[in-house]
Point group: D2
C-alpha cells in the first residue's frame, strides 16, 4: 500500500515548544489518518548545533541543519515548516516560496502587514501549498461549530465574544523571553494568543469591519532571561517588557455582527482560556480550549420549556476528524489540533489547493492585528475593511 | 418588643414587575431581619384605579392613590419608593425630596445627567435617606466579593469583564414596551440591564476613567403594544424600536484596571446572565446571577499544584446577609436581593446616613451611561472622570 | 374579591427551622398564588412560652399555645401543621385527625410503620386533607421532570441514582441534637435527608421492590447539647450518637428499574447535595438541589451529532409553578418549594382531595425506610413490595 | 545517547481498539519520556493475516505473526502485550511467563479467580515484569489524587462513590460483539468498564472488605454480529446477550470506608463517565474521565467562608507525568494514559520491579469481580477479604 503514497519531505525550522508540537504531529499523522500524501521528517534546523542535534533525535528527524538557508536549499526537502520566533517568519517564508517549497508558518504570519503581504504574494506566485498554524480551528468542536454555522443553524449572527485568558505572567519572577521583546515578537499577547482567538472569530463569524481597542503593559519589567543571568549578582538585573501583556477591543463585523475580545496573561485562574460565544437569531454556541472536546449549543427553536445550552462531546463520527481517533467519549488533547491541521495540509497538496487558514488568512489577521494596535495607540476606531480593501487580496 | 421599633410608612409608585418585587421585599423584611426601624406598607400609587386597587390588595398595601403627587403629599407617608418607568423618576424624586421623604428609586436614576444631578442635590439637601435599586449588589456572593477585595485578597486589580446577557428580544413577536421607547426609557438595554452590571463594576473595582463604546439596534421594529392591538387587523401594525438592544464597551478605570462590558437581550441561551470576572495580582473572582448563591474564587498564592477556581456556596454565616435566611446550602433567590437592600435602607434611617448605592451612585452611573452613549454616537473615547469631576459631587 | 375566598385557620406546632420555613410559606402563599382557599395564621404552639411567644410575633401568628393538645382542640383552627421532632408526629396527627382537622406533617411521617399506618388510617377516616412535607418535589425543575416522565419523554426507565450529601457532621465539635438521638428521631440521616431523596425516586420512578442496604455511624460521640452544657467543666462531656450518620443502598423497582442511593452528612464539599439522575431508554434527567432551578435533560433521539445534556433554567411559563414568581431567569430559592407545596394543599382543600405526597406516601416511605433499616441490620435483601402489600393501603 | 538505551523488543497480540491504543503508546513513549529502557515495536500477532498485516503497517510494527504461540516463542521478543478478548488472557500470559517474557495484559486479567491466580503465580515465578492495563490510574489527575491521599490531605476516608456510565448500548441496533458473549468476555459491563472504576477505588481507598450487588441485562437480544450477517435476510437474526449490561453494588472497605458503585452502558448522555468522589475527614476529591485533566479538590480546613470544591487543571509541573507533555493548560487526552502507564512499565524493567497495577492487582480485582458476581447471583453479602486471604498473595 505504501508504494502508492506520495511522500513529502519536510524541513522544519525551530525546535522549542512549537518544534515539539509540530514534530509530534508529523510523527502521528499517518497513524491516525490514512492519507495518500504523507510527510517524511527529513531535517530540522536550528542555530545551536548541540541542541538541534538533540532535538532531531528526540523528535525523530532524519538529519539537522544549523543554517536555515541551507535547509531551504536542500533538494531533498519539499516543504518548510517555520516554527521560529516571529521576526524570522518573513525572510524564511520568502526564501521557501522562492525555492518552490510548500510552507507551513506559525502565527502571527509576520511582524507587520507589509511583510505579510509580500509573503502572501510570494506564496501565491510560487504555486505551492501554504498554511498558517492557527491550530485551534482544528479542534473537532470548532470545526463542528463551523459546520453548524454554514448550515445556518444559528441564523444571522449578532454577537461574538471572545477571550484568550492565561495567567502565566502573574508570576513576576517569570523572566524576559522573546515573547516580551518587541523587536523579536512584534506584538505581545495580542499576537501570541489574541491572534488565535481573533482567527476563530474570522473563521466562524466573518471579516472584521472596524475596531476600537486598548492595550496595556501591567508588568513593565521582568528579570533578564536566564542565559544572561548566570551569576548571583546578575539575578536582580531587570529588563524592560516592550510589548503589551493585555489587550481588549470592541468590533463590528462586515456582516453586521458586533463583538468584544480580550487577551491577557494576567487573568489568575485561567490557564488556557481560549473561549468564544456566538449568538445568532436561531442559536448560540460556546467553546473553551480548556475543555476542547466539548461544544455547547443552544437552539432558539427547540421545544419551549426544554430549551437550554446542551453540552456536546465532539467525539462521535458526526464530528469532523473525530473518527480518526478513539471511540466516543475518549477525549483527544491539545496536540491533536496540529495533527488535524496537517491532515488538511497534505490533503491540500494532493488536491493542489491551499486549505484554510492559509497565507491569505495570515495576511488578513495581520491587517486586523495592526488595526488593533493602531486603534490602541491613537485611541480611535480603525476601519479594518478599508485597510484590507486597499491591499489586493485575491479571493 | 414591637413598641420599641420605629415604623416608617412607605408609599410606593408603580405596581408592575418592580412593584411586585419591592412589595414582596417590604412584606418579608421584618420576617428575616430583626430591625429597629421597620416599614409599614401604607399606600401604593398608580394611574389606573382598577389595577392599582387590585395591586394594593394582592401586594398587601393598606391603601392606594391614583395621583402620585397626592401620595407624596400625604402626612402619613415617611418614604417614597419610585418603581416607575424611567421618565418619571426625576419629577417624583424631586417632589419626594422637597417633601422631606426618604427615597428609594429604581435604576437608572434619571433620563440624563442633568436630571440626576438635580435629584442628587435635592436628596442631599433634604437630609433624608436615599438609595438607588441596584439590588444585585446585595446578593450575598457579591457582598462577599466586595469584602474579599476590601481585605486585599485579590491584590491590585488588573481586569474586569462584565456581561449582562438575556435573550428575551430574540422573539421578534415580542411587542413594543416602554423599555423600547426612547422617550420613556431613555436608554435601552444599556440603562435597563447594562446599568446593573456597570454598577457592580463600580462597586467592586472603582470609578471608570474612560470608555469607548458601540451600541446597536438589531431588531428595529416590533409589533405595537398589546393594548393598542385589540382587533386582528391591528396585529400586523409595527412600531419602531427607538433604543439600542445591544451595547459593548472597553474601559479604563481610575485605579489602572481595564475592562470589557456588554449588554444585550439577543444572546440566545442566556436567560439572565449578569456576570463578572475580576482578576487581580493575587486572586480572581467570578459571579453569575443565574446561580446567584455561588461565588467562584481563585487565589494565586494557594499552594502550587492545588490552585484552581473554587466554588463557594455563599449560604454560611461567614457570608453577608446569609444568616438571615436558611441553614447552609439552602439557597435564596432573586427576590432576596431586594430584602437585603431594604435591610440596609432601614438601618440607614436608624443611623442617619444613606447606604450605598445611593443617589451619588445613581448620578455617577448616569454620567457613565451618558459617556457610553456619547462614545457610541461619536465613535470616540470619552473621559468619564473629567465629566464626573466637572460636576460637584460631595464625597 | 377577598370575600369570595375561603379562609383556613392554621395552627402550627413547632417553631425552629421547619417552623420558620412553614411560617414563611403561609405568609407568602397568597402573595404569589391567587387561590380561592387561603390560610390564616391563627396560632403557633410550643412548650417554651417565652420562645413560642417570640416566634409567634417574629413569624406572624395571631396567637400561641404552650400545649399542642389545646391547639388541636381549638374551634377556630381548621388545620394542623406538625413541624416538630419525629417522635411527636404520631400522637399529634392522630389527635388532629380525630378532631377532623386538615393536616400537614413533616417527614418522616412517623417513628415506624405501625405508627404510620395508624396515622394514614386516621387521616383517611377523618376525610380531611393531608400531606407530608416532602417539599423538594415542588421545585419547578422536579415537577417538570415528572411531567417529562409522564409524557414518556424518557421512555422505559432503567436507572436511577440518588444521593443526598451534606457535610455538617464533619465538624466533630457540632453537638448532639434531637436528630442524633434515636428515641426522638427514629432514624438518623436516612430519615432526615435520605427520606427526601427516596421520596423523589418514588415520585419520579415508582415503587421500590427490594433493597439491600448498609448504614454506618462514623462519629460515635458528640459534645452534649448546648443547653446541658452551661458551665465550662461540662463542655467536655460527650454523649453517644445513637443513629446512623451515613447510609447506602441498591434497589430494584417494581417497574424493573435499578437504583443506587446514598445519604450522609460527612461528604465534605457538599452543602445540600440532594441529587438524582434518571436514565430511560429515550432520555435522561439530572437535578441538584444546590442549583434547584435547573434541570438537565438529555434525549436519545436528538439529532445525531448534537446530542448532549442540556441545562434548562426552569423559570419559564412552561415550568410548573414558575409563573407565580418572577420573569425568566430570575431564580427562586429553597423556601419557595414550601410555598408551591402549600398551593397544592389549599387547592386540595378546595377540590376535596389530598394532593401528593400525602399520608399514603408517608406510609410507603416509612415502609421503605424500615426495609432499609432492616436490610442493613440483618445484611439481607428486603422485599419492600411484599411489606407494602401486607398492609392494606387504598390506592 | 541512544547507544546507552536498553531496547525491549515488544510483541503484541491483538489489533483492534486496544491494539491501536497500545501501539500508539509504544510509538509515542520515547517522544515524551526520556527513558533508559525503550520499546522496539517488533511484531504484532492476529489470526487474520490480511488484517494483521494491515495493522502492522498502520500501527508501525516491524513484522507480524498469525499464531500467537509463535510470537511468544520468538527469540527476538522480550515482552508480550496481551490486547485480546478476555478468554485468551490466561493461556497467553501463562505461555509468556513460561517463556520468561515481560508481560502487559489487558483487563480484566482473566475469566475467573483460578485463572488469575495461576497467571499471577506464573508471572511471579518467571521473575519478569508484569502489569495489567488499568490505564485510568495514569491520568495525571488520578495520580495527583493518589498523592494527596498519601499525604493524608483527605484524612481518614469515609466515603467513595464510583460510577462508570456509558450509553452505547441504548442503540438496540448495535450488534452482538465479543463483549456481550459470556464465553468470550466472562463478565459484561462489570468486567469491561466496572473493573476500571473498581480498580481506581482499590488504588485510592484500599481493599474491599465486603460487597452486596445486583446485576441486570436490560437488552436481552441484539442483532447477530456483522460478519455473520452478510445478506439482507440474515439481518433480522437476533442473538442472546449472555452477560449483564448493568451492575450496582454497595461495599465496605477494610479501612472502614463505605462505597457505592455502578457500571452501565445504558445511561443516556454519559459517553464515558468513569467518575469517583471520595470524602475524607479533612477533604474530598472528584474526578471524571470525560474531563480527565481536571481534579476537583475540597479541603475541610480551608478558611471558613471560602471553602468550596476547587477545579485543578492537572497540567502543571506539580502534577505527575504532566511535564512530559505541553505547557500548563494544554490538555492531554485519553491515549496519554497508556503512554504514562508504559513509562512506569519500562522504568520497572530498568529497576527490576513490577509497577502497580500488576498481576497482583489483576488477581485482587478478579476476586472482587467474582465476589460481586456471586453476591448478585445469590443475593447475599460476600466477604471479599476472606476470599482474598484464602488465596496466598505475597504482599
Amino acid at each position: 500500500m505504501s508504494e502508492e503514497k506520495k511522500e513529502i519531505r519536510v524541513g522544519m525550522i525551530g525546535y522549542k515548544f512549537m518544534g515539539k508540537a509540530h514534530s509530534n504531529a508529523y510523527r502521528n499523522l499517518p497513524f491516525f489518518f490514512n492519507l495518500n500524501v504523507v510527510p517524511v521528517m527529513k531535517a530540522i534546523s536550528g542555530r545551536n548545533e548541540a541542541k538541534v542535534k538533540e532535538a532531531a533525535q528526540a523528535f525523530g528527524w532524519e538529519s539537522y541543519e544549523t543554517d536555515w538557508r541551507k535547509l531551504i536549499e536542500r533538494d531533498d526537502i519539499d516543504m518548510i515548516d517555520i516554527a521560529t520566533p516571529n521576526n524570522m517568519h518573513y525572510e524564511m517564508a520568502i526564501a521557501a516560496a522562492k525555492a518552490g517549497k510548500h510552507i507551513i508558518c506559525e502565527k502571527p504570519l509576520a511582524m507587520n502587514t507589509r511583510q505579510a503581504k509580500e509573503m502572501y504574494d510570494a506564496a501565491c506566485k510560487s504555486g505551492s501549498i501554504h498554511m498558517i498554524c492557527h491550530n485551534y480551528r482544528f479542534a473537532p468542536a470548532v470545526q463542528f461549530a463551523k459546520r453548524l454555522i454554514e448550515q445556518n443553524r444559528l441564523g444571522k449572527i449578532n454577537h461574538v465574544r471572545g477571550t484568550y485568558l492565561q495567567d502565566v505572567y502573574l508570576d513576576t519572577e517569570s523572566p524576559i523571553t522573546w515573547r516580551t521583546r518587541k523587536e523579536i515578537t512584534g506584538l505581545g499577547v495580542l499576537g501570541d494568543i489574541g491572534s488565535h482567538n481573533l482567527d476563530l472569530a474570522r473563521f466562524l463569524v466573518g471579516e472584521f469591519q472596524e475596531v476600537a481597542a486598548l492595550t496595556e503593559t501591567f508588568v513593565n519589567q521582568r528579570p533578564a532571561a536566564e542565559s544572561e543571568n548566570q551569576n548571583e549578582a546578575d539575578k536582580k538585573q531587570m529588563e524592560d517588557v516592550t510589548v503589551e501583556d493585555a489587550a481588549a477591543l470592541i468590533a463590528r463585523f462586515e456582516n453586521g455582527a458586533i463583538g468584544t475580545f480580550e487577551a491577557t496573561k494576567l487573568a489568575g485562574g485561567n490557564l488556557n482560556g481560549n473561549r468564544f460565544e456566538i449568538n445568532g437569531e436561531k442559536g448560540s454556541i460556546r467553546w473553551d480550549l480548556e475543555n476542547l472536546n466539548n461544544l455547547e449549543v443552544y437552539f432558539t427553536d427547540d421545544e419551549p420549556g426544554i430549551r437550554g445550552y446542551r453540552t456536546i462531546n465532539c467525539t462521535e463520527k458526526y464530528h469532523p476528524y473525530a473518527e480518526a481517533y478513539w471511540p466516543v467519549g475518549h477525549i483527544i488533547g491539545y496536540e491533536h489540533t496540529f495533527i488535524n491541521l496537517l491532515s488538511d495540509f497534505f490533503n491540500g497538496i494532493e488536491q493542489g489547493s491551499s486549505p484554510r487558514p492559509n497565507f491569505e488568512d495570515g495576511l488578513r489577521n495581520q491587517i486586523l492585528l495592526e488595526s488593533i494596535e493602531e486603534s490602541a495607540a491613537k485611541k480611535v476606531w480603525i476601519n479594518v475593511s478599508e485597510k484590507s480593501n486597499s491591499i489586493s487580496i485575491k479571493e
